[in-house]
Amino acid sequence: MRLLRKVLVNLAVLVPAAALLGLGTAWYMIQAGSRLSTRTVGPWVTWSAAGRSDADPYTRAHVAWNAMLPVSSTSELSFRAKTDSSGSRLTSACDYAIVMEEFEPAWWGLAVFDGDGKLIANPAERHGFTSSTAMREPDGRTVIILARDARPGNWLPSGRSNRVVLVLTVQDSSWAAAIHDGSAAKALPEVVRTGCR
């Protein structure tokens, strides 16, 4: 009887603890990813197998839970940045310079969303830039200013939403190949915090 009680007490404590641990780690791996499923270059993270038929279970779950429709193409990749290059979370309370130096894929598009993935309403009705719409500096760099209030140059409004997420889409087969084979030496844009209010 004593042994039975001991077993029952153990089960009552250990089973919920194990369930919590198992579900928590699964949720983390599905939402945040790990080296098994993502590639990280600076603050930019991509789920490199997203959309592919041989995608790992974490990637498939990530796609399903985030309402994604990834295209399994060898020529396109989509990166997300939730932090700046120093690792601090992106917020509309701060201004950032997104510096593209020696960043020359065939085509790129950069868009800004709030923490829920919604486009941010702003009077300029601007939600991103592409390689065709962004102005270049005289030295060849492209600098995009992510800020709440208007700035000269490539101003990308961050609105009043607290959390901000940047999504960079790159269409270039050599870039995609470098990410897929793990030799992602090509530097993605830096996200530099320039000030906070």
Binding site: A18, T25, I30, A61, L69, G117, Q171
Partner: protein, 222 residues
């Protein structure tokens, strides 16, 4: 520093005293004692049999939860657009804007034509033109998995004609027939067909819109 508990196997279970597993446990215990791992007090109090049980059980829960997650998701792309789009009809969406966004994180640099297909009434024929680099016609299962894609090629227009059929014996029968369209087996009876065109500036948007408008998605009798 406290050492690991000496007794690893209950002494009340004499029948298993001689099992090799007991010897293995003894060896493992001896190794851990030599290592003198600086474990927190509460973990040492729990005992490593309980810790092992929790870790093993958590691992099983982790694997099951990860594998089941796509099926259990209540917010995959198909569910989110089901009430917004009619079934088996290609709809050209207006440019993505705040409050007029099909899905989270959908690119504002693309124009989209989307068909929500449902194969319960028969297969679906899709015709579309993939006009240039950056364009893509993609077929997605209900959970978002991309099971077919036709990416655009630079300066080359590709006309695509597909017959989306269900998996299983019904699909196999349709596949045996002679059809002008390329048969594509959908892993789920419902899903999404997305034709997207990059917004390369105002000068190109009218042309891109015209190509998107020509895309069709029609259900045919099985």
């Amino acid at each position: 520093m406290k050492r690991w508990p000496i007794e690893l196997w209950p002494a009340r279970l004499p029948r298993v005293q001689q099992l090799p597993v007991r010897l293995w446990l003894k060896q493992a215990q001896a190794l851990l004692m030599r290592l003198r791992l600086p474990l927190p007090q509460w973990l040492r109090r729990l005992g490593w049999r309980r810790i092992t049980a929790v870790v093993l059980l958590a691992g099983i829960v982790h694997i099951c939860a990860t594998l089941a997650a796509p099926m259990l998701s209540s917010r995959h792309a198909y569910l989110l657009v089901r009430d917004k789009l009619p079934a088996n009809r290609m709809v050209v969406l207006p440019p993505q804007s705040p409050g007029n966004q099909l899905l989270p994180y959908v690119s504002p640099h693309m124009l989209y034509a989307v068909c929500r297909y449902d194969l319960s009434g028969g297969p679906v024929i899709v015709t579309a033109t993939v006009a240039d680099a950056g364009w893509a016609l993609s077929l997605h299962a209900a959970q978002g998995d991309n099971f077919y894609v036709m990416p655009g090629q630079p300066l080359r227009r590709t006309d695509v004609s597909l017959l989306v059929i269900p998996s299983g014996p019904e699909g196999a029968l349709i596949q045996k027939r002679d059809t002008a369209e390329t048969p594509i087996v959908s892993p789920t009876p419902e899903g999404l067909i997305v034709l997207r065109a990059p917004l390369r500036g105002l000068a190109w948007s009218a042309e891109a819109d015209a190509v998107l408008q020509r895309a069709t998605c029609t259900q045919v009798r099985p």
